[in-house]
């Protein structure tokens, strides 16, 4: 702490620092607090789509949510989807990064190819996967069916979930890969070399040196991936499964979109986004409180 205090800058004018942060504050107020407050307001009203009449209904929209078994089902679906997506994308990208880190010849070639999918917009990723796996016209679906696998995610909940998880994870692998690779390259080679001299094999080196030293990166990626899985995957689900079959891939964010923009149920949709906002806030706090302590910076 002593070191930190020495770094503090003292302004002679009391208002100058506030002026400096003002632009940032304006951006946050306009693009975050204002929409969020609108969502909170909307969530306690029952309104027709055109906004011609609206009634204050207290917490009716929320009670309707929590007494709806399908909403709770959607919570479950979201948890399964998010855990699977985060687990898959983090582990695969870590594996790829470890390998790419050791490649000497053509390293740039590999890196570029692995980073490519990140340039694909989520809805487009959904459409790509749809073209490959569509039961009625997909190329891979056709091959799978000929290989004796009854691929039909319109009538198979498990396959539908698998498809969106893999598509969502694939989309995020590039991003995670970049950070993991940067993290790996920041690990001093002298540490690894001395460990090797002491007789530590590659697995031990990874477990005792690389992984702990990567923990800040992993922690950061965990936060980012949670937010990704919760909020940014709806394009993929929208394009590939539309939440089906029978709600098997109806995640919370897709439900917000569907009820709000398709169903035009603004109050109910706003209530859901408030809930979602609270969930993500809690998750982030939890992560910073408990996981961050174990992270070695």
């Amino acid at each position: 702490m002593a070191v930190m205090q020495d770094k503090r800058v003292h302004f002679r004018n009391k208002w100058l620092p506030y002026l400096f942060i003002a632009p940032q504050m304006v951006v946050i107020l306009v693009f975050f607090f204002w929409p969020a407050s609108q969502a909170i307001k909307q969530s306690v009203y029952l309104e027709d789509p055109f906004g011609l009449s609206s009634q204050f209904v207290w917490l009716d929209n929320f009670t309707a949510l929590f007494t709806d078994p399908h909403y709770l089902e959607s919570v479950k679906v979201t948890l399964v989807f998010s855990l699977a997506t985060i687990g898959l994308s983090l582990s695969v990208s870590l594996l790829l990064a470890v390998f790419a880190d050791q490649v000497i010849k053509g390293a740039n070639f590999y890196k570029t190819f692995i980073i490519w999918p990140y340039a694909v917009a989520p809805p487009l990723a959904g459409v790509l996967w749809l073209f490959l796996f569509h039961p009625a016209g997909g190329v891979v679906a056709y091959l799978l069916n000929h290989a004796g696998i009854d691929w039909d995610y319109f009538a198979n909940s498990g396959q539908a979930m698998l498809l969106v998880v893999v598509a969502a994870a694939w989309k995020q692998i590039s991003y995670n890969f970049l950070f993991f690779l940067a993290g790996l390259q920041a690990i001093p080679t002298s540490l690894l070399e001395s460990a090797a001299i002491d007789g530590a094999g590659p697995v031990t080196r990874f477990r005792t040196i690389i992984f702990p030293l990567l923990s800040p990166t992993t922690f950061f990626l965990l936060v980012v991936n949670v937010i990704y899985a919760f909020f940014e995957t709806f394009g993929i689900i929208h394009a590939a499964t539309q939440g089906g079959p029978g709600g098997a891939t109806n995640t919370l964010i897709f439900k917000v979109f569907n009820d709000g923009f398709i169903g035009l149920d603004l109050g109910g949709s706003a209530a859901q986004s408030v809930v979602l906002m609270i969930i993500v806030m809690m998750l982030t706090i939890l992560q910073f409180k408990f996981i961050e302590r174990r992270v070695q910076y």
Partner: protein, 438 residues
């Protein structure tokens, strides 16, 4: 100096050109017709614009039906809405309830002193979009009805006579089994738009109600009742047919069409408006016939109901502009435009005059298949169970039905359970709609 003068002249010319361009009052029309249909929409607008100089119709493609409707509603809230918007049939109740946001077509036409006779439209079309006292609120534009498309070549290969396609559900199942056994197809039939075809039209076709109060036409207090014995029996039968591939579930919209086009499925139940696309893509002789019925439920089927969209006029524009909107709607429902639209797209001819004109032009002689849909829709005069439906929040309602039907196809629920759950969940939506629109 010469340079300055030429610039000045250029400026004057630009001003003059834009002055003439601004002289025509622009009428914005948002629609959901992509691809070939969108080109046809532009052609209609061009024809109208060329026919007079006072108004200029500007059609804009806004995405699929739900996207178009959402865009118009968001536009209205922001005060930047179009004059005309194309809204699909399930959005009808929402638009009707939005008094103050819409300008009813019958009123617009009366205000502008233009002739408007609801009797010109086919009964089944008019009934869907008029109030209980016969006032038409939106202008019918593109209406279709579900029919059965079938693969004539495959029937022949299985030793069956394609000029006698199955007329009842048991016949359809028997024919399907034969064809699967003969190895000419993989599946018997698939269906698009399951809620529309297998529940809404099924109920109209068998004259059983979907909801109380004349399927919602009688008021906001309507309740769903589509978990009756007829519907439960039908849905359960479809589920059972999945086991031997007589029925195959292939998605909510028209996702399954490729299975029919590539010959894997013998029959396809879908919108009559798919005809043009299927004709282009199918490499076999395409047949088209009416929906099957259950002989143990009815001696004869009733009539099918429509889907598709109408044009709604939105409020809060200038009076002078509404004159142009009215003129355009008048132009749009003229027999020539409608007959051309019908023949090009496979949508129904929405007026009797357009139907007559198409007959006179010999269209059904060259394309007898195109008449099946009209005949099926006008087979019998509509009853309260078969004139259509009007349920609030029905976009979401259909989603629920889709979800619950999928629970039947995936084997999670029985038909009885799923339909009862769908009725319960749907009724909650109807009550919410009733409360929001009191």
């Amino acid at each position: 100096m010469a340079k300055l003068r030429s610039i000045l002249i250029a400026c004057c010319m630009v001003l003059m050109i834009s002055a003439t361009a601004f002289a025509a009052t622009e009428i914005q029309w948002w629609h959901a017709m992509g691809g070939k249909l969108g080109e046809k929409v532009n052609e209609i607008a061009d024809k109208f614009n060329a026919s007079q100089s006072e108004y200029k119709i500007v059609p804009t493609y806004k995405g699929n039906y739900t996207e178009t409707m959402t865009a118009a509603i968001a536009g209205f809230r922001a005060g930047k809405h179009p004059h005309l918007v194309q809204v699909f049939e399930v959005g009808t109740a929402t638009m009707m309830a939005a008094k103050g946001a819409v300008y009813p077509v019958y009123k617009l036409m009366a205000d502008m002193d233009l002739p408007f006779d609801t009797g010109r439209f086919l009964d089944g079309v008019a009934a869907y979009y008029t109030t209980t006292d016969g006032k038409m609120l939106s202008m019918p534009f593109n209406s279709s009805t579900p029919v059965v498309f079938y693969n004539k070549d495959a029937m022949r290969k299985a030793g069956l006579d394609p000029s006698h396609p199955p007329r009842t559900w048991p016949e359809l199942a028997a024919v399907s089994r034969k064809m699967i056994k003969a190895g000419v197809v993989k599946y018997g039939f698939i269906t698009g738009w399951q809620s529309w075809v297998q529940l809404e039209n099924f109920s109209a076709w068998h004259n059983v109600p979907l909801g109380t109060l004349e399927n919602g036409f009688g008021g906001l207090g309507t309740e769903f009742v589509f978990n009756g014995p007829a519907q439960v029996k039908h849905i359960q039968q479809l589920a059972d047919w999945q086991k031997d591939d007589v029925f195959h579930y292939a998605g909510r919209r028209s996702d399954g069409n490729p299975l029919f086009i590539n010959g894997e499925s013998a029959f396809l139940m879908g919108s009559s408006a798919a005809l043009a696309g299927l004709k282009d893509n199918c490499k076999f002789e395409l047949g088209i016939t009416m929906l099957p019925y259950w002989p143990d439920l009815v001696k004869k089927p009733r009539n099918s109901i429509i889907g598709g969209a109408t044009l709604w006029v939105l409020a809060k524009h200038k009076k002078a502009e509404y004159k142009g909107v009215a003129e355009f709607l008048n132009f749009l429902s003229s027999p020539e435009i409608q007959a051309d639209w019908h023949q090009f797209t496979g949508y129904l001819p929405i007026t009797y005059a357009a139907y007559e004109l198409s007959k006179k032009q010999g269209y059904y002689k060259t394309m007898p298949d195109a008449e099946v849909a009209i005949k099926q829709m006008t087979l019998n005069p509509p009853t309260p169970n078969s004139k259509g439906l009007r349920f609030g929040n029905y976009v979401q309602g259909r989603d629920i039905i889709n979800e619950e039907l999928e629970n039947v196809w995936t084997g999670k629920k029985t038909a009885q359970q799923a339909l009862t759950d769908a009725v319960e969940r749907g009724n909650a939506l109807l009550r919410k709609f009733e409360k929001a629109n009191k």
